[in-house]
């Protein structure tokens, strides 16, 4: 004998939760769309009345300004200026992220150190820099350090003949006669060779028990490759020298770039330090104790047991700080650093329409942030705990 399931009366449409969910979402969607449409329409009609162009044609007009530190002429179209600005933003963001992470993790570990001096220094670093607005830090770096502390070009500091420091920039001994890409190619070869050597030696170790000496062999191989590459490419060293009111030779680090980079690095590092400290403390104490039970030393415990687990927790907030750094790099515009924001500002100041110019900059920042957060999410997914 079959039993029929009890019939459940379906609620009327206006009380049916599934229907209401969709209706509500659609209504909100259309309201948002309507607002955006009204804003755009308002802008377009008003601009038309005033005779202000609203298209992106300004990208093809000559820029009529110069960009320092780049191979750029005022006759080039605005789109090239934007490309230079984008390049500068990416450059300072990438370098800033690398240094800030390194410094931040070190300082974060330092805050948990049992060495009183290291502990106190790290605490002062973090607590002071976290509480000062970035623009103030940047102004201090530019006015205080670059303009006041660094000497005038006539009295430039010469550090061992390798580095010349003045308030017009820092010139460092560099190579010439070849490109960065070529040298990086050799570096890549050297590192790949090191990796292969390490694999080989690990195999040897497993078969015979002989020490791997992977570090020694690998690094000698890398040095060999780099030296060979240097001579093959015909690179030479250029040392900077003061010539009149400028510095000849070497590679010059723009003073604005230097000030903005230093400010971004120390500010973001202070935040990353706090994140690192918090995530180290979030690792269960038992892990560290298990490490000592296995006779691991303090630094071995940190490096092999605690830090890997702590970094797993720290990846999303550190990724957040990376996004902050990218956006904060736009403050460099106030200090004559030609990032994207400054290029957009000067473009508008020279008579190009404001809204399209800034919409373009906006879109780029969004794209860069999305790319960065995608990488961070990938890293997170790779490292996170996979639970059954």
């Amino acid at each position: 004998m079959t039993t029929t399931p009890p019939q459940v009366a379906r609620p009327p449409l206006y009380r049916n939760v599934n229907v209401l969910k969709w209706v509500f979402q659609l209504v909100v969607f259309f309201i948002v769309l309507a607002i955006l449409f009204w804003l755009a329409n308002n802008y377009l009609t008003r601009s038309q009345d005033l005779g202000i162009p609203t298209s992106f044609d300004f990208l093809d007009q000559p820029t009529s300004f110069d960009i320092t530190g780049a191979d750029f002429s005022p006759a080039e179209p605005v789109r090239n200026a934007y490309l230079v600005g984008i390049g500068n933003t990416i450059r300072i963001s990438a370098v800033g992220i690398v240094f800030a992470t390194a410094l931040g993790i070190l300082v974060g570990i330092g805050r948990l150190s049992r060495n009183w001096v290291v502990n106190k220094l790290s605490t002062v670093f973090v607590e002071s820099l976290r509480n000062i607005p970035l623009l103030v830090i940047m102004t201090f770096c530019f006015l205080g350090i670059v303009l006041q502390l660094f000497p005038r070009i006539e009295e430039a500091w010469n550090l061992g003949g390798l580095v010349i420091v003045s308030n017009r920039g820092v010139s460092v001994t560099w190579f010439e006669g070849t490109t960065v890409a070529a040298l990086l190619g050799f570096l890549f070869l050297g590192v790949a060779g090191w990796w292969l050597i390490a694999r080989w030696r690990r195999g040897v170790f497993e078969r015979t028990g002989a020490p791997t000496r992977a570090g020694l062999l690998g690094s000698s191989f890398l040095i060999l490759v780099m030296v060979t590459g240097w001579f093959v490419l015909g690179a030479t060293v250029t040392t900077p020298e003061v010539a009149g009111r400028a510095v000849a030779g070497g590679i010059r680090v723009d003073p604005s770039y230097f000030a903005v980079l230093v400010a971004l690095v120390i500010y973001t590092a202070s935040h990353i330090a706090e994140i690192t400290r918090g995530s180290i403390q979030a690792v269960p104490k038992g892990q560290g104790e298990a490490g000592s039970a296995l006779a691991l030393s303090g630094s071995q415990r940190l490096w092999f047991v605690v830090l890997p687990q702590a970094m797993r927790i720290a990846i999303p907030p550190i990724g957040n700080q990376y996004l902050n750094l990218i956006k904060n790099s736009s403050l460099g515009a106030a200090f004559a650093y030609f990032d994207l924001t400054l290029v957009a500002q000067i473009t508008v100041g020279n008579g190009k329409p404001a809204v399209p110019a800034f919409v373009l900059a906006l879109v780029f920042y969004v794209v860069l942030s999305l790319i960065t957060s995608t990488f961070v999410n990938l890293a997170n997914r790779h490292f996170k705990l996979v639970e059954r």
């Binding site: 009609t45 008003r46 601009s47 009345d49 005033l50 005779g51 202000i52 162009p53 300004f58 009529s64 300004f65 110069d66 320092t68 530190g69 002429s73 005022p74 530019f142 006015l143 670059v146 303009l147 006041q148 005038r152 070009i153 006539e154 308030n167 017009r168 009111r245 400028a246 003073p255 604005s256 515009a333 106030a334 200090f335 004559a336 400054l342 500002q345 000067i346 508008v348 100041g349 020279n350 008579g351 190009k352 329409p353 404001a354």
Partner: protein, 364 residues
């Protein structure tokens, strides 16, 4: 939800809306550009909006020696500030019926376009790109300037010696483009560094980061006069490498308001040509010269010899020129009050009768 949570949410919402409306009120009382202003597509005219409001919103700056300086008493003092007062005196008969709105260089045209200011009197160069794409209409030039270069005394004696120099300029101005063009023209390979803030620029220049400071010569003279190390520490090089006619600007689309501002400015030049000063304007009202009397009071006689009032249809009161001269002064007096103490000479800014470029259109 629980009553306490509901209360918290309602309080937060009330605070947010209270903040919004109070902002709206203060906006409408001071800038009110968005409201009744516009004159283009809004259906209203700028002159009507200004008359309703009772003050002229004049875009200016706050720390430019000689042209517009915000003093400790809260007054704007300077050449451009006085021309703001000229416009107010012409429209309202009261030179103080003006609201000086301080603007950054990068925002000045957007403020004009959006209507938050009625007129921009801010040492702005009249160029084709601004006349066209920026939605601005430029009026009678009130100062013919040129771009120059300022260096530490003794460093250079001519621009041509500045090979590979670092030149600092202000952002968002014609200066950057002109400096780049001049550098290319003479093959000097300058490094042009633009600063947003003039204080930062001065710091950079003083600390030796810049070899030269380039800007309009009038600006350089002004900044030189207040330089911390003294004006003699700086020299303005003799070369002038661009035309920088500085003129007031209004937003495109309202020719009546443009004419009002234009004739108010020209009244100061015409007054100097007639020899009318702040001191003698009252006597000049009863002058034998019918042209002067008509200019100052609008009183004239028609073909039959009957007394009548000349109304050119500008929308200004008949005696606007009298109010302008008696309350602010003629062009020469305004120049002498603010620019002569800096060491600027009339030069091309003299009247056309003295060989200069200032020429007022005939008021008839």
């Amino acid at each position: 939800m629980k009553p306490i949570k509901l209360l918290a949410v309602l309080t937060a919402l009330t605070l947010v809306f209270a903040a919004c409306t109070s902002d709206g009120d203060s906006d409408s009382s001071t800038t009110e550009g968005e409201g009744g202003n516009g004159g283009t597509g809004d259906g209203g005219s700028v002159l009507e909006a200004v008359l309703d409001r009772g003050v002229v919103n004049c875009g200016t700056r706050d720390a430019f020696p000689g042209f517009a300086v915000l003093t400790e008493d809260g007054d704007h003092v300077g050449f451009d500030s006085d021309f703001c007062r000229v416009i107010a005196a012409a429209v309202f008969g009261d030179a103080e019926a003006v609201e000086h709105v301080d603007l950054e260089t990068a925002d000045r045209f957007t403020a004009l376009q959006s209507g938050s200011i009625d007129v921009l009197v801010r040492n702005t160069t009249f160029t084709a790109a601004r006349d066209g794409g920026e939605g601005a209409t430029f009026l009678s030039v009130n100062y013919y300037d040129g771009q120059g270069m300022m260096v530490n005394t003794g460093d250079y004696s001519s621009i041509e010696e500045m090979q590979g120099a670092i030149v600092c300029v202000a952002q968002g101005t014609t200066t950057e483009g002109n400096a780049a063009a001049e550098s290319a023209r003479l093959g000097l390979d300058w490094e042009v560094r633009p600063f947003e803030d003039t204080d930062l620029l001065q710091e950079a220049f003083q600390s030796g980061q810049c070899d030269g400071w380039s800007s309009d010569t009038s600006q350089l003279t002004g900044f030189r006069s207040v330089y911390p190390d003294g004006p003699d520490a700086l020299t303005i090089l003799p070369e002038v490498f661009s035309k920088e006619p500085l003129a007031p600007a209004v937003a495109d689309g309202d020719s009546q308001w443009a004419a009002v501002v234009n004739w108010a400015i020209m009244a100061t030049i015409q007054a100097e040509e007639y020899g009318i000063t702040q001191a003698n304007v009252d006597q000049m009202r009863d002058s034998d010269d019918a042209a002067i009397v008509m200019f100052l009071t609008g009183a004239t006689t028609d073909e039959e010899g009957n007394a009548t009032t000349f109304d050119p249809g500008l929308g200004l009161p008949a005696d606007f020129a009298y109010e302008v001269i008696s309350q602010v002064g003629n062009y020469g007096e305004i120049f002498d009050r603010h620019l002569t103490p800096l060491g600027l000479e009339r030069g091309v800014n003299a009247l056309w009768t003295d060989g200069g470029l200032l020429y007022a259109m005939p008021y008839k």
